[in-house]
Symmetry: C2
Subunit: 419 residues, 2 copies
């Protein structure tokens, strides 16, 4: 950005080099110089430093190019780790991810989000500790924790501004509290933004592309990534696609808007619609009192995949609304790709992908300039948790802590300092 | 951005300093060092260079701060100029803008956009030449021309991808063609994006804020600015708010989408609605066959301002739709401010501003995090043309030509080189 202070350029240079190595998997110093525009001398110095820190390792030699064969460098996946914690209404998912973005350990459990945060967060902390022990990950190699959950949030303060998972969580300083329990830095972020950046880190999208992520678990959220950084806007409360209006005359949503997408197309809406379809509700033995509607949603999705006409009609209707919203997001952000992530897409992804792609192909304002491709997330239903861990790796390693970027990027809250 | 090559940092440093001087109006070297994070030595060197190029001048002394009084520097407004050309269906506006963003000359004329581009562009070029002569602006001080018009566009190639102003303009290389006629670099850009950046350059918004511009002239467009740079997305075809859907069951728009905002709230829709209101149409003597519906729209707006209940009802209905769309844009981009720009807001701005503000206050998802302020453009109906000139100044002076930024920033097309 025009404002990024020049004194930040050293850590930034290191970050640029590290990010190119990550994206390239293996690369020579000469190729690094070409890819970054840095001098050979600078590259050698930075790589020496990264080798010293154990972040990268030398590996074999590149194909001879006439000159002397070139030593290749690659990330050392086990040099650092990030922890991702996703807090959802129905469950809490914890993953430990290595420097390459690969999960090395995972656990999930229910009930925590129905507890008050004072009770829940120490429990989450103990599960994180247990998971690190199980995975035999040394604590000093852990850069921090990415705690991802619902928006809106006060990301700088690490506070949820929503009565989700329950009323007691609203205004609670979740990030500072969890940081205190763990003695590790904790970044709070939006689950959909996390899912979006996870795709980038895993190399699933062209690093230079502008892409959006539609995230559907219990609710519907979104995130946009521009050239490898999450679009942040003013306060990181961005791309809340579940609360854009499908109908100016629609019903009022608790969020204050009218005709919100989530109330037409979200899993709970779909379960409600299925329960209003007596034959279907009976056939699938749907439970009107189920406290976890994702199980009921999964049944409907499975029936739709199996060709049940009523189930399929409902899922396709939901997909058309999502396609309609995807057009709005693509028209405003001018996207190359839309990634579908989260538990609910994991069970009915193929139907959603086909319908959303069709809507984009038909309705996009700038389709003469380029098309928009719809793809499933490489991280499936753990996309948000994995992305949470990746956000910590990215913030600590390649962006430089607190460096001005697209919108605000806060300093991680908490006692622990990254090694 | 993570990828910005470090070798660009010299021209970037110069750009950062120049942009801070512009924003501060007058500033001392010590204050410049503080604001940029650069060393005093670097500041002195860069300022010496800018003084040498005549871009800045020394002016008086700052308030004594105990130490020796400080010499202040400020932009030299007449050191460089930018030309803005706006091509609209109903008219062509040309402005010459100085380094401070102030228009020093303006002309507008009709008919050009109904001609084929082969005929129109040489005419536009001759008008630009004439205007520069009238304003006594030396050609070597002109950095280039910002040609702004409808989207979608192929901005890199300088080509319009839309059958506007007329079918003949679609796929015509307008920027290279105009550059050839003028012998000056020509940047093609979106009129709404231009209007948005004009506000920043004029210091009308907090430089660090994220803001959107809703631009309404014959159609409705939009632009978003993040920390002083236009949000570009994949191909700069962004924030096309006129073609986001208000109703999933709405009528199909020529753009391919359904229920587009423009067809409910745009000036032509409003004129159509007024003509369907016999009493009003008669009272205002509206001409159903008027080829320039903006004149008819202005009549309706004037009547609304004067308290004609039917006219006011129509304008308020249009404003509610715009407010509804503004909520979608704010929910997705997380904006601090929304600027209303363009000829159509210039005539009915106060009604639109009040209604759009009310909708945002009521409906915004993240309103607990912060509110969104609606303000009129400081550049009024010439906002797009002035912004076009500003885009050239910004691209040449503070961003560094072709520097990677938010999305693509193309090298200006054309023969002439900036001094």
């Amino acid at each position: 950005m025009a404002r990024s202070p020049v004194w930040a350029s050293r850590s930034k240079t290191r970050g640029v080099v590290l990010d190119v190595i990550r994206a390239a998997r293996t690369i020579s110093r000469v190729e690094l110089a070409a890819a970054t525009g840095l001098t050979g001398a600078t590259i050698s110095e930075v790589v020496r430093e990264l080798l010293g820190d154990g972040l990268v390792v030398e590996t074999g030699r590149g194909a001879p190019t006439g000159g002397k064969p070139r030593t290749l460098v690659q990330l050392n996946p086990s040099a650092r780790y990030g922890v991702g914690v996703q807090l959802e209404r129905n469950a809490c998912v914890i993953v430990v991810v290595d420097l390459a973005g690969h999960p090395v350990a995972r656990t999930s459990f229910r009930g925590v989000s129905s507890m008050p945060p004072e009770q829940a967060l120490p429990l989450v902390a103990s599960r994180v500790d247990a998971l690190l022990t199980t995975a035999a990950v040394e604590r000093e190699k852990v850069l921090g924790v990415g705690l991802v959950s619902y928006g809106p949030q006060d990301r700088r303060a690490g506070v949820l501004l929503t009565p989700q998972p329950t009323d007691e969580w609203r205004d609670h300083p979740v990030a500072p509290h969890l940081a205190e329990c763990l003695g590790l830095p904790v970044l709070l972020d939006n689950d959909a933004a996390a899912a979006a950046i996870g795709e980038y880190w895993m190399g699933a999208v062209d690093p230079s592309s502008t892409y959006g992520c539609i995230y559907m678990a219990t609710g519907i959220g979104g995130g946009v990534v521009v050239a490898g950084e999450v679009y942040r806007g003013s306060t990181s409360n961005t791309a809340e696609i579940g609360h854009i209006s499908m109908d100016v005359h629609g019903d009022e949503c608790p969020c204050g808007n009218v005709g919100c997408l989530e109330n037409y197309a979200g899993p709970s809406a779909l379960v409600r619609q299925a329960l209003e379809t007596p034959g279907l509700a009976r056939r699938l033995a749907l439970d009107p009192d189920a406290d976890d509607f994702l199980t009921e949603f999964a049944r409907i999705a499975a029936a739709a995949n199996a060709g049940d006409p009523e189930a399929r009609a409902l899922v396709e209707r939901s997909a058309r609304y999502l396609g309609h919203a995807a057009v709005t997001v693509a028209v405003l952000f001018d996207l190359d790709v839309i990634v579908l992530a989260g538990a609910s897409f994991a069970v009915a992804g193929s139907i959603y992908q086909a319908v959303i792609q069709r809507e984009l192909d038909r309705r996009l304002f700038a389709r003469r300039a380029h098309s928009v491709r719809v793809v499933p997330s490489v991280n499936g239903s753990d996309a948000a948790a994995i992305g949470g861990a990746v956000l910590v790796l990215q913030s600590e390693l390649t962006l430089g802590r607190g460096r001005p970027g697209i919108g605000a990027r806060p300093v991680p809250v908490g006692a622990g300092e990254a090694p």
